[in-house]
Assembly symmetry: C2
Homo-oligomer: 153 residues x 2
DNA sequence: AACATACTTGACTATTTTAGTCAAGTATCG
DNA sequence: CGATACTTGACTAAAATAGTCAAGTATGTT
C-alpha cells in the first residue's frame, strides 16, 4: 500500500479546502503556509487533485483552489487514488520478473489474502468522506460494519 | 504499510515449510530452488523467522529449517512482524520532523482514520493462520466478521 | 579427526522509490 | 500592462529496498 508524504499532505490540504467550502478560493501559497508543506509540492499535489476532478482552480490574482463538490461527496479513497495512482498494488507477481512462481497456481491460498486485504482497504477508504475528516472529534472514522457487507468472501 | 519482497518471500517460504511439517527439516538451498528466491536472501529471512521463534534450525548435514509450532498456531501477522518489524507505521508525525502540525490537535478527524486502518489491517493479518494459507482452494482467507468485534470504534 | 553440509552474522552495494526542487511557461484579474 | 497565481515537465538528493558477500560456527557422516 502506498502511504507516502503525498498521501498525508494531500489529505490535510483537501480537508483545509473543505473548511472554506462555499467561500473564496485559497491560493497554494496560503495552503503551503497553513499546512506547512513546501509550496512547490502543494502545487504538484493540487494539480493531481484537479486532474481527478476533486478540486477546481481559479487563475489570476485572487485565484486559488476550491472543492468542486461538497465535502460529503468526496471520499478519502478518491483523494488517495488521485495522488498515488493505485492504493494497493498487487503483491503476487510483483517480484520474480512478473511471473507467478507459486506452485499451486490457480488455487493458491496466499494470493486471495492479498486480494481481500486490498478490497478491505479500498472499501474502508471509500467509506470515509471529507465531511468525516472535517469533524473535529475523534471516533467518527468510518462505519466498518456497513462497509463489510460489500466485501466478497 | 510495509509490503515488500521480504513479505512476499517470507510468506511463501513459511508456507512451504508448513507443507512438510512433521517430516524432516528443509535446507535453505532447497527452499531457494523450490520458491525461486535468492539463496542468501532465504537465509536472511529464515533467520528472522527463527529469532521470532516461528521456525527452528538444525545445523550440520541433513539440517535445515522446520516450523516450531503447528501451522494452525502461526499467524500471518506474526510472520510479517518478524520480517518487517512493524506492519503499519504511524502516518501522523512521520513527516515535518516529527511534530504534528495539524491545526486541530487532540481532536483531529484525520489521525483516527489512520489508527483505525492500522488496527483493521493488524487484526486481519492476525486472523489468518498458516493453515489457512496452506489450503489450496481460494476463498478461505479469513473471517472478516469475527475480526471486527475486536476493533475499537 | 577430517570433511562436507548447512546455519550464522553483519556489513556492504546497486537499484528503485520517495520527497522535494526548479525553471520556464500560461491564464486571469484589476 | 503588470502582478498574481496556476501549469507543465524535467530534474536531483536522500532514503528505502532488494539482494550480495565474506568470514565465520556448529553438526552429522565417514
Ligand atoms: S500466487 Fe503468489 S504466493 Fe501463490
Ligand atoms: S494529526 Fe495528522 S492530520 Fe491531524
Amino acid at each position: 500500500m502506498k502511504i507516502t508524504s503525498s498521501t498525508e499532505y494531500a489529505t490535510r490540504l483537501i480537508v483545509n479546502l473543505g473548511r472554506t467550502f462555499g467561500a473564496a478560493a485559497v491560493s497554494t501559497e496560503k495552503l503551503s503556509e497553513s499546512e506547512n508543506v513546501p509550496a512547490d509540492y502543494v502545487n504538484q499535489l493540487l494539480l493531481r487533485l484537479k486532474r481527478a476532478g476533486l478540486v477546481q482552480s481559479h487563475r489570476g490574482s485572487g485565484g486559488g483552489y476550491s472543492l468542486s463538490r461538497s465535502p460529503e461527496k468526496i471520499t478519502l479513497g478518491e483523494v488517495l487514488r488521485a495522488v498515488e495512482g493505485t492504493i494497493f498494488e498487487d503483491v503476487c507477481g510483483k517480484y520474480n520478473d512478473g511471473r507467478k512462481d507459486c506452485h499451486h497456481q490457480g488455487h493458491c491460498g496466499i494470493s486471495p489474502v492479498w486480494q481481500k486485504l486490498a478490497a478491505l482497504i479500498e472499501q474502508y477508504f471509500d467509506s470515509i468522506t471529507l465531511a468525516h475528516l472535517m469533524e473535529e472529534k475523534a471516533g467518527s472514522c468510518g462505519k466498518v460494519e456497513a462497509m463489510l457487507g460489500r466485501i466478497p468472501q
